[in-house]
């Protein structure tokens, strides 16, 4: 893709720039049907995805409450965010812990499970796929975890711990700071076998089987070697795609946290950057400050995605 961009650039660079411009314009005029076809999508895409990123970068340097005209304040929002806002630092720490655990664990789980069920007969594989994918598919059904971890003795987990005499009184799972984070991580993992899991299944299905036979002849001894030297390298494009999806999701923990632990949660134990963003953006309407939070989140997501892409390029080498 980047190569393509480069190619067009060099093509544009040759010859007289104005002549090139005219040619491009002529070509664009000739292909106006094509532009008409992509226009509706890209109009919406730019208005609600690209523009907001640019706009929130701009607004993050202002003080804006949606009523008065924004006031330019320079780096003040960022300075306040990292120096004075203790709650943001908690949110940052929590988000990084969530991302560092749920990101890699869910990514590896997606791949390993897809790899194990790949050798199943088709019917069984379809059922297994449904069982693993169902939680991600079921949207708000994660609310059932609030019943499992309910703090009275009707809570399923409390009831069983009481029955086996492991505890003497019900534990307030979702109101005790030290339990909140692990519970959110568990639920987040439960929800995480999504798009990338399907992509991995598809990737393994469409893999060239002769590669495996060739590998067997060339002296691949066991399935682990086969995995590392043949399967993983030939799946690299899927691995890239899956990584992008999982990383992005792992930084966006919010809905589960607020539904389970409340908003705000006890001692901010379940507070994340996204919930902090919601707090300032949709409750306090401090749009400048909220935009600064959004920009930090954007930088974190994009940055980690680019780093992981670099790392994945090394798989199987």
């Amino acid at each position: 893709m980047i190569q393509l961009v480069r190619k067009t650039r060099t093509a544009l660079g040759s010859g007289k720039p104005r002549l090139k411009m005219n040619l491009t314009l002529k070509e664009m005029k000739r292909k106006k049907v094509i532009y008409a076809m992509i226009a509706p999508y890209f109009l919406i895409f730019f208005a609600f995805t690209v523009l907001p990123v640019c706009l929130s970068l701009l607004v993050s340097f202002t003080n804006f409450n949606m009523l008065e005209f924004p006031k330019w304040v320079g780096w003040r929002n960022y300075a306040q965010l990292f120096v004075r806002d203790d709650v943001f630092l908690i949110a940052l720490k929590n988000t990084l812990i969530f991302a560092a655990i749920t990101g890699p664990v869910s990514y590896i789980a997606c791949f390993v499970l897809a790899w194990v069920i790949n050798e199943f007969p088709p019917k069984l594989r379809a059922i297994a796929t449904l069982v693993f994918y169902a939680p991600a598919l079921s949207g708000s059904a994660f609310i059932v975890w609030t019943l499992l971890f309910s703090s009275d003795s009707y809570g399923y987990i409390n009831a069983f711990l009481l029955k086996w005499h492991l505890i003497m009184e019900p534990i307030l799972w979702l109101k005790t700071p030290k339990y909140i984070m692990p519970i959110i991580i568990i639920v987040q993992l439960w929800l995480s076998l999504g798009t990338s899991f399907l992509a991995f299944i598809a990737g393994l299905q469409s893999m060239d089987k002769t590669l495996l036979e060739a590998g067997a002849i060339d002296g691949i001894r066991n399935r682990w070697q086969e995995l590392w030297f043949i399967t993983l390298p030939s799946m690299r494009p899927m691995l890239m795609f899956g990584a992008v999806i999982q990383i992005t999701a792992s930084f966006a923990v919010a809905e589960v946290a607020t539904a389970l632990a409340g908003f705000p949660s006890v001692k901010y134990a379940g507070h994340t950057i996204v919930t902090h963003l919601m707090d300032y953006g949709s409750i306090r309407f401090e749009m400048g400050y909220a935009s600064a939070i959004a920009t930090v989140l954007f930088a974190m997501m994009l940055g980690s995605n680019l780093i992981v892409r670099k790392l994945l390029a090394k798989v199987g080498e």
Binding site: M1, L4, K31, I34, M37, I38, P40, Y41, I44, F45, T49, V59, M66, A109, L113, V116, A126, T129, L130, F132, A134, P135, L137, S138, S140, A141, I143, Y154, Y156, A159, K163, W190, L193, T195, A199, I201, A202, G203, Q205, S206, R221, E226, R236, P237, M238, M240, F241, V244, A254, L277, G281, S282, M287, S291, A294, L297, M301, L302, N305, R309
Partner: protein, 292 residues
């Protein structure tokens, strides 16, 4: 031309039984973890009230009953806004949003996949970049944009941004790339315009891809965009069934039965769509790879 096939003895890497045991144990464990909460939903949806309040609780229902579904009906019919309104809102958002997304994103994906035009590479690069951050980043600014456009507190506040979702465009474009050029050239010679080619030739060929887009988009919108819905829509009569069910759960332990019945009903729709389109989805995802 004769093709000479040399058949080699099929050689497969040996699978040690120890490896099998480890992997299947892992699979069973994870399978239990994934399925248990959903089984719990199903079981509780059919539990009579005395079983819900029983200590210690049984995991599986002993005397299944449909009472929870009737209770749910009564609870909902007592609400201030008629329940049919919530149901209508949910279906309206999910269906209009999904249809709009599938048509508009496919229409943009076709030129990106099969045609050359100035600006194509940069547009697709931006789409791929946008997969790398989630919609939460843009939510605050979108709130301002939507309020400026006058979409706030209408269904369009959820529908319009969902139409521009980038995952759908990405998957559709990747899938369309494998359409043979010869097919399109034949249509061009017959004098078909770009739009005719797209609608009568490309769209029928990429059926697996739009089934995939339907399931992804529907699944996102069925919960009415979750946080997005809660943020952009505040009128009671515009809220979705998801919200109404959330209110039932607030009733505490005594409402467990009806709320699980409701969760079960909400679950079945996306799961049913997925079961019917699973093979198409897998087929589409096999082209989802990202080249570096």
């Amino acid at each position: 031309m004769t093709v000479i096939r040399i058949s080699l003895p099929k050689k497969r890497v040996s699978r040690s039984w120890k490896g099998d045991v480890v992997l299947f144990a892992l699979l069973a464990l994870v399978g239990y973890f994934m399925a248990m909460p959903l089984v719990f939903v199903i079981s509780n949806a059919f539990k009579p009230i005395n079983e819900i309040l029983k200590f210690p609780p049984d995991f599986f229902v002993q005397n299944p009953t449909m009472n929870n579904f009737f209770d749910l009906y009564h609870l909902l019919s007592g609400s201030w806004v008629p329940v049919t309104r919530y149901v209508f809102n949910t279906f309206f958002i999910a269906i209009v949003g999904t249809a709009g997304h599938v048509i508009i994103a496919s229409m943009a994906a076709y030129p990106l996949a099969k045609r050359h035009f100035p600006g194509k590479a940069i547009l697709f690069t931006i789409v791929v970049m946008s997969l790398m951050f989630s919609a939460t980043v843009t939510q605050i600014t979108n709130y301002m944009t939507l309020s400026w456009l006058g979409f706030l507190d209408t269904h369009w506040a959820v529908i319009i941004p969902a139409i521009g979702s980038s995952l759908g465009l990405y998957l559709m474009k990747q899938y369309m790339e494998q359409i043979p050029d010869a097919l399109l050239e034949a249509a061009e010679i017959d004098g078909c315009g770009e739009f005719r080619i797209f609608w009568t030739i490309v769209m029928p060929v990429v059926k697996p891809a739009w089934l995939t887009l339907i399931i992804f988009s529907f699944q996102g919108l069925w919960g009415a965009g979750g946080a997005a819905g809660a943020m952009y829509i505040y009128s009671e009569q515009l809220k979705t069934i998801d919200y109404a069910l959330g209110q039932i759960l607030q009733g505490g332990i005594i409402r467990t039965g009806p709320s699980m019945a409701a969760t079960l009903l909400m679950l079945t729709v996306p799961i049913l769509i997925f079961v019917l389109s699973q093979s198409s989805v897998i087929q589409t995802m096999s082209t989802s790879g990202m080249k570096d």
